[in-house]
């Protein structure tokens, strides 16, 4: 009896999960990126608070709608590069958490600058069996050349996850590598952790949180 009850509970739960997941088409990587992008843009277009620079609301939006499709452990591994191997599992977890905080903060803020630019999705060049793909998009704006934004995705057990974002060909992740490498050489992995923590603390103080 107990078994049946828990089974039913599990079934009900999984229905709930599936129902939530229905909002985003996660079957194909390009469809996933388009779905999440459309989702976020629709919200930003209607949200006057985000448009006027409310970082907290932007962070909330990113945390609920975007983060589930990102693989931050993979991102951090890429950002740290060859020194990643020498980090303990605990250090890896802390590094991942700190980089996540920094990236979410920074790019949520960038979201508040969105002003009705049009986003074009390029056809996906990948084979059905590929597990690592590049989804290419372009942000069109009048009076200027379009800005290229590309997403690297990897297929994991729980679906496609973004592990790198490239703006105009520049990886927002590996762009940190030289800098992080220098910190590790100077103060080891713990030095890098402190470096990231200090940066996040500094972003927390209102003096630097302008615009």
């Amino acid at each position: 009896m107990n078994k049946i009850a828990s089974l039913l509970a599990a079934l009900a739960l999984s229905f709930g999960v599936q129902f939530n997941a229905l909002a985003v088409d996660a079957t194909a990587p390009d469809a996933l990126v388009k779905s999440v992008t459309d989702d976020v843009i629709t919200i930003v277009r209607q949200d006057k608070a985000i448009q006027s620079g409310d970082t907290r609301k932007a962070v909330e939006l990113v945390e609920t709608r975007v983060l589930p499709y990102f693989d931050f452990a993979h991102m951090t591994r890429l950002a740290v590069g060859k020194d990643w191997k020498q980090a303990t599992p605990e250090q890896k977890a802390v590094l991942t958490q700190e980089l996540k905080t920094l990236l979410v903060r920074t790019y949520s803020n960038a979201l508040t600058q969105y002003r009705n630019q049009q986003i074009d999705f390029k056809p996906l060049k990948a084979k059905p069996e590929d597990t690592d793909v590049l989804v290419r998009t372009e942000v069109r704006q009048p009076g200027a050349k379009a800005v290229q934004i590309d997403y690297n995705l990897e297929k994991l057990a729980d679906g496609w996850k973004v592990y790198d974002v490239l703006v105009a060909g520049v990886s927002l992740v590996t762009n940190y590598r030289d800098d992080f490498g220098k910190e590790v050489r100077a103060g080891g992995i713990d030095g890098l952790i402190k470096y990231l923590k200090d940066k996040n603390k500094q972003l927390d103080t209102p003096a630097t949180a302008k615009k």
Partner: protein, 235 residues
């Protein structure tokens, strides 16, 4: 001041040999002390002069800003076309020529970008990219006063770009200076927003911008599709 003189010494040395990087320095940045000094100068000039001016300019209504952007874009398209031809991309070069014809006439002196709406895509080329496709190496990283990140190859390219730049051919000094100033301010204004993002994202802004420049140029040289290599450190 000491950083500058050390940098200058490095510059002199590096003309002969490239080994001026201190221990642990970036292999592509042997002139780091000089570059950091220039970078700090640029940053201060930007904070107190360029950025505030760009912020005022930003109040200009969007349609006018779009017109300004299109106007300077049109002026640059001919040289972009020449560079496409020099790189062997004849079709792209012809398309750029077509853009200039359409936008200078139907687009009223380039104020409207009709060509893009007709499907003639805007390209992004310069002499530095052309030199790169010809196999010229980039040389040491260089931060140019007021102009920012570059390298030896792109600085040579930039001199060529300026020689071919229609704005610099204008005889009347006042007009030439006004156009140069307007173009500079317009470009700076288009980076408002992006600059705050970099400010927040970067831990060491100098290193962040240097890495940014390397990746950005590689992407431009490969017309937005640099070779996709599996990262050796990603496993």
């Amino acid at each position: 001041m000491r950083a500058v003189s050390r940098g200058l010494a490095c510059l002199v040395l590096s003309l002969g040999l490239t080994a001026c990087a201190g221990p642990g320095g970036h292999p592509k940045d042997p002139l780091e002390p000089l570059n950091r000094a220039t970078f700090a100068f640029n940053d201060t000039a930007d904070k107190y002069v360029m950025r505030p001016v760009a912020q005022v300019y930003d109040y200009v209504p969007l349609p006018i800003k779009v017109g300004v952007g299109n106007f300077f874009g049109n002026i640059g398209d001919l040289w972009i076309g020449v560079n496409n031809v020099l790189q062997g991309k004849i079709t792209d070069g012809l398309s750029d020529g077509g853009r200039v014809l359409v936008n200078s006439t139907v687009g009223i002196f380039g104020l409207f970008d009709i060509a893009t709406e007709l499907g003639l895509e805007k390209h992004d080329e310069d002499l530095g990219q052309t030199l790169a496709t010809w196999g010229v190496g980039d040389g040491p990283y260089l931060v140019l006063p007021l102009l920012g990140p570059s390298n030896v190859r792109d600085t040579v390219g930039l001199i060529g770009d300026l020689t071919a730049d229609p704005v610099w051919q204008v005889e009347e000094v006042a007009t030439r200076n006004s156009l140069t100033g307007l173009r500079f301010v317009h470009r700076r204004a288009s980076l408002l927003g992006a600059d705050t993002t970099v400010e927040q994202a970067a831990l060491d802004k100098y290193g962040y911008m240097r890495s940014f420049y390397f990746q950005y140029r590689l992407n431009q040289i490969h017309d937005g599709q640099p070779p996709r290599v599996k990262d050796p450190d990603d496993e």
